[in-house]
């Protein structure tokens, strides 16, 4: 049995369907640890992981931290406010300083698309992309996929609607790659201002949410940032909710057992109505648990076998 054929996790785009399968299977098997009386295994004892977060993120960062703890890795979290980034040090300088601590892996969240690729070229540790600009957020797509697979038993042939701000969303891009590689049928929906050119290569596109959610097995609602209004991407949160928000009536157009995903944090009353967010189709808590499981799988697969890695 050969190891996982990647040294870094920079995005879903570079993965083969079999790689995705391996991560999901591993995550499914590791998830059981979280129900044990002692939620800790010694697998990554002696490995050092740095969580380097240049953007605020409670959810993703704590999920990685829990995964690291469960696998017994030593970890260190650095958030922008406490790092030298505020003193004008460059990303590369910061990371090269951290390298003196001989980390085996760096988990990077950064506002510049492609920054994980940039680091992977210039430093030694394995790089895991925890969200880069509007490019990718691979572990989010993996946890969404694990959740969908658990609820639906499969990914192939599922009809999944992704709704909202596709233009600025790394979650949408990673999910698009993943779902299309795994044979799901994706429909994207949002105002034309928030649908970037060429996005229809992997999915069908509509501006009508009713059309998008019709018969859907799953609906993925993306977060709408209020500051997009000043950029002229839409007119008001009120109108956005009326035209593109997921209301209970709209959710009813989907399949009876539809699953509703949201990467969080939610804007209730903007992209999603509270009744839907708190309703029976919501799997937001499963997403949190699966987030830890998927991140454990990624750490295990990238660090479990190879440490003196040099690709």
């Amino acid at each position: 049995m050969s190891g996982f054929p990647h040294r870094h996790l920079l995005g879903i785009e570079a993965l083969e369907p079999s790689d995705i399968q391996t991560i999901l299977d591993t995550a499914a098997s590791l998830k059981e640890i979280l129900d044990r009386p002692i939620k800790k295994v010694p697998t990554l004892r002696g490995k050092t992981i740095v969580n380097l977060f240049y953007e605020a993120s409670t959810r993703t960062r704590s999920s990685f931290e829990v995964a690291e703890r469960v696998l017994s890795a030593d970890s260190l979290s650095i958030a922008t406010a406490t790092s030298s980034a505020t003193k004008g040090e460059t990303l590369l300088d910061t990371v090269q300083n951290l390298e003196a601590m001989k980390p085996d892996m760096i988990i990077l969240r950064h506002q510049s698309s492609g920054s994980p690729h940039f680091l992977a070229r210039h430093v030694r540790p394995a790089i895991v992309n925890a969200g880069d600009g509007a490019h990718e957020h691979p572990t989010q797509a993996l946890l969404d996929a694990l959740t969908l697979r658990e609820k639906k038993g499969r990914l192939k042939g599922l009809r999944v609607a992704i709704v909202g701000d596709i233009l600025h969303s790394r979650v949408a891009r990673s999910n698009l790659w993943l779902l299309s590689k795994m044979g799901a049928d994706v429909v994207l929906c949002g105002p034309p201002t928030l649908l970037p050119p060429g996005i229809d290569a992997l999915a069908s596109v509509t501006h009508r949410i009713d059309e998008a959610v019709e018969g859907a097995d799953a609906i993925m609602m993306l977060r709408i940032q209020r500051e997009r209004m000043s950029g002229g991407y839409f007119s008001s949160t009120r109108e956005f909710h009326i035209r593109f928000g997921l209301t209970e009536a709209r959710a009813k157009r989907a399949k009876k057992d539809v699953v509703i995903l949201h990467p969080g944090p939610m804007n209730r009353g903007v992209e999603i109505a509270s009744e839907v967010a708190d309703g029976p189709y919501s799997v937001i808590l499963d997403q949190v648990t699966n987030g830890v499981a998927v991140r454990m799988a990624v750490l295990y697969l990238l660090l479990g076998g190879a440490s003196e890695a040099e690709s």
Binding site: M1, S2, G3, F4, R7, T22, D25, T26, A28, S29, L30, E32, I33, R36, P37, I38, K40, V41, P42, T43, L71, Y300, L301, G304, G305, A306, S307, E308, A309, E310, S311
Partner: protein, 203 residues
């Protein structure tokens, strides 16, 4: 299932009926020592320890009328050699759906060799709770221990060389019941059909 590449068959240590008789004897010993199976669990070490644990449990039930509980341990996450062998990405997972606090747990594996697998299994088991007692049952003990461990129930003990390998084949996993003693083939330079060895190169 045939002989793995690079090995040749030296001897069949057990056939199907011999294997059954051996397990029956082991079950008998277990039943004798633990007449109350209600607080005893057989936990197999993946992969072949699991069907062995199931069989032993069934045989204990025949003797005592009650079956001990059966669990499965996947020790992948507890190995001490993760960085020296390629990881096996497909984990089957640990499955112990009951509390082991205060119980007697009998770990079951097919072959006892260096003892490192059992060490990992003990570590993992202890993370699950505090058993009153842990015992070890193995079908074959082939010696060469690297740790101070011994088995409480042994199907067959034999002296082997490091060039040899003991392979247990089971109906549930391999389609047939038997135990084989294999010998590593000497590297013959002129071997015409020598398969290129899959290189386990660490990247």
């Amino acid at each position: 299932m045939g002989t793995p590449a690079g090995f040749k068959l030296r001897q069949e240590l057990m056939d199907g009926s011999r294997l059954s008789r051996t397990l029956a004897r082991m079950a008998h010993e277990i039943a004798e020592r633990h007449p109350d199976p209600a607080r005893t669990a057989l936990v197999g070490i993946r992969s072949r320890g699991v069907p062995l644990a199931r069989r032993l449990a069934a045989l204990v039930k025949e003797a005592l009328g009650t079956a001990p509980k059966v669990g499965a341990l996947d020790i992948t996450l507890y190995r001490d050699d993760l960085t020296t062998i390629a990881p096996n990405p497909v984990m089957k997972g640990t499955d112990i759906p009951f509390s082991i606090d205060g119980w007697t747990v009998i770990l079951v594996d097919d072959v006892l060799f260096t003892g490192r697998t059992v060490r990992a299994a003990l570590d993992e088991l202890i993370d699950f709770g505090r058993p009153a007692r842990i015992e070890l049952a193995v079908l074959v003990d082939r010696g060469h221990r690297e740790l101070p461990l011994h088995a409480n129930y042994v199907g067959k003990s034999l002296t082997t060389s490091r060039q040899e390998d003991v392979q247990v084949q089971l109906q549930e996993e391999d389609g047939d019941d038997r135990v084989l003693l294999l010998e590593r083939e000497a590297a013959r330079p002129a071997a015409p059909a020598a398969k290129p060895k899959p290189k386990r190169k660490r990247r």
